[in-house]
Subunit: 375 residues, 2 copies
């Protein structure tokens, strides 16, 4: 049996190069986790996701508990078997989606009661149930149930919210049934207040987790405050455990967070943007729906090798104009390839102790802007 | 340069085994052509279509002329290059979609004027323009512009409609610029009237084409009348040219038409049905949206090897209930694999002169019905 673990392989400034070991395989860090909300990274088969370089997929507890249901997934052999993803899986706790997707929710010390956005049925998520669901799903990395403090929040609100999350974190830890290769991560809260972030980190370390997430960011505070909050939190996180910045982000958010010591990321941006026609390329974002591409025989991005490299911009443009499914599929592939290639470059740069230069190179590449229109 | 041609490799009763040679490769017949309306078989990359066993894709002139436009496709290197399908392509003439998709159309001796269903713009399709468009698209097999006679039609209406189509067929032949490896097929019309079908076939043979389609069927006449019409037409078609039954059909339609001497088929059924949750399997159709599948860990069809074989019915059901793109993608793959496997079996059976027995075996397999629900 494989023990859950993290090995710090190298460091360059604050930036870290590591490897997480789980029951279903290893994850080289810094790592980006594509979001597979309802048991699928939208539009792709699992082997296509793996071919982009992804080693771990994130599943959403909220969606999966409502449909198809955690007990059903368990009967079917767990989420890996269900979606045919043999590698590591991380699930969130469901708390964030309860707050953002449902109405008529009621938050108490015990947990949160809410109505499903699918069929209006009532459900309750407690720390204990959030853990039970994630263990039914068989996720390699489970997350504690927390209250994602709204932004902005005054110090008093942020403090009481953080304290509730810490009490819930303890209940989650107690409910979590330890198995080799499986881990539960704590989540630091405290809004943008350094003193609360420090206290939250200390409270979680006191409970003890094999990994720590920084939660409650990327909720509207802006990049500057986000980075300041990471800087205020990071010194209080143990060096020998992975750090996961939840829900982040744009390419430069990720690069800057890696420079500040973060190891793991997830975000819907590459997949969701891909479905609406926004491509991430080595020269920055490209909106393929723009008419400038309609006669362009060139590839979208001649510097990111991806399954999309062989198609012309004109064809990709046409697919989106004609509402063809293949458009979202191909741009999702492009964007995941772009993100994974960026992560691979960051990992190599930390190993070779040139992360600052690599970050500057990435920023400079992105700042070039798209290739000129063909005349 | 490869000459366009057809070789009759074998025969068993009326059923034929052949091979069509085109500029972009060969097509073993009897053949099923997946429909790639707007330059894509919906949801699949070209290499995935090829992996199902398909050797030729059908493109719709009507859709492509409106968007992205035939001249644009030509500037981009033709439809093969545009959609990255290196194999043979067949395009229809656009006439059928003009009749079925547009309003405010006006049919004259010269051609048909209509408004685009996309943006309401006016367009005219004449025999000459239909050929020009298909040659701009660079399709290996072009089709003459015809009037798809509505069903039902009385003898007089069917006769004058057929005669118009024959005059258009001659204009198409005159407009078609011969190139090695490229061919133009005539289309037999005449509704369900054997005398008109015979006259139409004779008129086309008089003009001379490297292949002949049977058009104006699968428009509501029912299988029995369709088969009778094929039987009434087939004796008047030259044995040394391929015969293409347009827009057909369900699996048993295809088997029965192969028994009656047809070589080529196209139909949206496997792809369109797949997108709505209907699977074709070796035990007949299965509606994966049915609740009976929600806890079923078994594969959809354990007799048709396809990229879908590894997924459970429960997972496929979940994808459709959750409106996940991967559901339509996977069922499209299943259905195309089912169709192509059926065609491969028919080809082999003709070679081995046991087509009647194979047809009976296919009907018996389909009649078994789906596997029982797990208790």
């Amino acid at each position: 049996m494989t023990a859950f673990g993290f090995e710090l392989l190298g460091q360059d400034g604050k930036a870290r190069r590591g490897c997480i070991t789980t029951a279903h395989g290893t994850i080289e860090t810094p790592a980006f986790m594509p979001v597979g909300t309802a048991g699928t990274v939208k539009g792709l088969q699992p082997q296509e996701v793996a071919a982009t370089g992804a080693e771990i997929i994130l599943g959403n507890t909220y969606h999966l508990m409502l449909r198809p249901g955690a007990e059903r997934v368990a009967r079917l052999g767990g989420l890996h078997e269900f979606m045919r993803w043999p590698g590591p899986l991380l699930t969130d706790s469901g708390g964030f989606q309860v707050m953002s997707l449902t109405e008529l929710r009621r938050l108490t010390e015990e947990g949160v009661t809410f109505r499903s956005h699918i069929d209006g049925s009532y459900h309750t998520l407690t720390p204990e149930r959030a853990i039970e669901i994630q263990q039914l799903l068989d996720s390699d990395i489970a997350m504690v149930l927390d209250e994602c403090t709204p932004y902005p929040a005054d110090h008093e609100t942020a403090e009481s919210s953080m304290e509730l999350s810490m009490r819930w974190a303890r209940r989650c830890k107690e409910a979590f049934v330890e198995r080799p290769g499986y881990g539960l991560f704590g989540i630091v809260q405290g809004s943008v207040y350094p003193d609360l972030r420090e206290r939250s980190a200390a409270a979680l370390i006191e409970i003890g987790f094999p990994g720590y997430a920084i939660g409650g960011l990327a909720v509207g505070e802006g990049q500057e405050q986000m980075l300041e909050t990471i800087e205020a939190t990071e010194p209080f996180l143990p060096a020998d455990k992975p750090r996961y910045l939840m829900g982040v982000g744009k390419p430069d958010d990720i690069v800057k967070a890696v420079l500040r010591g973060v190891d793991m990321f997830d975000c819907v941006l590459p997949t969701r943007s891909g479905r609406t026609g926004q491509a991430f390329t080595s020269r920055g974002p490209v909106n393929i729906r723009n008419a400038r591409h309609q006669d362009d025989p060139r590839p979208l991005d001649d510097e990111t090798s991806s399954p999309v490299s062989g198609y012309s911009r004109a064809y990709l443009h046409h697919l989106f104009k004609a509402n063809e499914m293949l458009g979202p599929i191909l741009l999702t592939l492009q964007n995941l390839c772009f993100y994974q290639r960026m992560m691979a470059r960051l990992r190599l740069a930390v190993e070779e102790r040139r992360i600052e230069a690599e970050a500057e190179a990435l920023f400079a590449e992105q700042a070039r802007g798209d290739i000129p229109v063909l005349s």
